[in-house]
């Protein structure tokens, strides 16, 4: 977390919401699953949580952060980052 010279503590906070809540996603209903999910993909709908860590890491390279560790909660995955 430290760097040569003063370090800027105050963070930039970006929140991108693709739906008002996880339960509002049409894919969570059986009808929604039939409409929006290919038949071959019948696993539980996880939305953005199904995106592999490596894909997020590629995005984080642009931001200039690295993943230190990840924990999974009931509703959210939390990535602890360097920098």
């Amino acid at each position: 977390l430290s760097s040569p010279g003063p370090f800027e503590g105050p963070e930039k906070l970006l929140e991108v919401w693709f739906a008002p809540s996880a339960s509002a996603l049409p894919e969570t209903s059986a009808a929604g699953a039939a409409r929006y999910r290919p038949a071959a993909v019948q696993r539980e709908w996880k939305g953005l949580r199904r995106v592999p860590r490596a894909v997020w890491e590629e995005m984080l390279d642009i931001v200039k952060c690295k993943v230190l560790s990840v924990v999974e909660g009931a509703e959210v995955d939390a990535y602890l980052l360097s920098e």
């Binding site: 929140e15 008002p20 953005l48 642009i62 952060c65 009931a74 602890l80």
Partner: protein, 332 residues
């Protein structure tokens, strides 16, 4: 810095000279490729005024550049606000109206491994359901006391050839979390805490919450995150949480005033700002005025006792959200 990923949203909170906003195009591309999202329901971008703005780069060099960048993505759907005293601890916010259509650059290209997901049809645009409730509190603290800063410096390794190995970052983080009671801000049983102590100083923690409390009817889910820069001269700590809180403290969870006091007690800042972002039911819906009243009264003058003076309390009513912002300064 931290990244939180839920099925329907992503939160990216980064400090230092990171290029946070430059990840936005890729986030939207990934969401479209993996989940079929073609619209952004809402986007929020916020930050406190920088200590060292001259060290930032890219769109973060200036608030106007950040707004221009976001406008280039969201067009007319975005609005920018400056909240609080401009010559002190002001806070900056950009938010979009619901169901913004992001404008991706024409040269946006997707990695080849996205191709399988691209055949997913897009979900329709969504309206906010009347039952939905979201509440986020952020406490941004500066000018930490020497006692508040000291725990966040890594111990020096013992001298001599027989010196044992130093603690790993995660071991040091866990030690700090336990010593300061960060691991008991919420019930230990329902919280998974991931913390890291940096060399030579600094600390970050993420926590995710499990199933909630059936006894008190408080739902589960949510996160909290803490980041600390303890060096004298630019000391800073932040706490953010969207974990549902009871109206009065229980064995598992503090109420909002208790939580704020606990956090301020750990970091001992001389100055802090608190933002409370609460979703509101649709106009005329049940609980509309109650949600507004609770958010406003939560940041009262006596919140932190006589030791602190509240300098400002500012309220905003946005489409679907109420924001209350307050600044406090230690007396004397």
């Amino acid at each position: 810095s931290s990244l939180f990923v839920a099925p329907h949203l992503l939160i990216l909170k980064t400090c230092g000279t990171t290029l946070n906003l430059l990840g936005l195009h890729r986030i939207i591309e990934i969401a479209r490729a993996y989940c079929g999202f073609t619209t952004v329901w809402r986007c929020f971008y916020s930050r406190k005024s920088f200590f060292f703005p001259e060290r930032q780069s890219g769109p973060h060099r200036d608030w106007r550049d950040e707004v221009t960048f976001l406008d280039s993505v969201f067009g007319a759907a975005g609005s920018a606000y400056t909240v609080g005293p401009m010559n002190r601890d002001h806070w900056l916010l950009y938010l979009t109206s619901p169901n913004a259509q992001p404008l991706l650059p024409s040269d946006a290209s997707l990695s080849s491994d996205f191709s399988l997901s691209l055949s997913l049809p897009s979900p329709p645009a969504l309206d906010r359901p009347s039952t939905y409730q979201d509440s986020t509190i952020e406490i941004l603290m500066s000018h930490l006391s020497p006692e508040g800063r000291a725990p966040f410096f890594a111990p020096s390794p013992a001298p001599g050839p027989e010196a044992s190995g130093t603690l790993s970052g995660h071991e040091l983080g866990a030690q700090i979390s336990h010593r300061l009671g960060i691991d008991t801000l919420f019930s230990r049983g329902e919280t998974t805490l991931d913390s890291f102590g940096f060399e030579p100083c600094g600390y970050s923690a993420n926590a995710v919450v499990g199933s909630g409390s059936p006894e008190t009817n408080i739902p589960g889910g949510g996160y909290f995150t803490i980041h600390v820069t303890p060096e004298d001269g630019w000391s800073y700590a932040s706490f953010e949480s969207n974990i549902p809180l009871p109206q009065t403290s229980t064995a598992d969870r503090p109420d909002i005033a208790t939580l704020i006091r606990k956090v301020v007690g750990i970091f001992q800042p001389s100055r802090l700002s608190i933002t409370l972002f609460v979703s509101t039911p649709p106009e005329g819906g049940i609980g509309e005025s109650e949600a507004e009243r609770r958010a406003w009264s939560a940041l009262g003058t006596d919140l932190l006792g006589r030791e602190f003076a509240r300098k400002d309390r500012i309220g905003y009513e946005f489409d679907g959200y109420d924001l209350v912002f307050a600044c406090f300064e230690k007396r004397g």
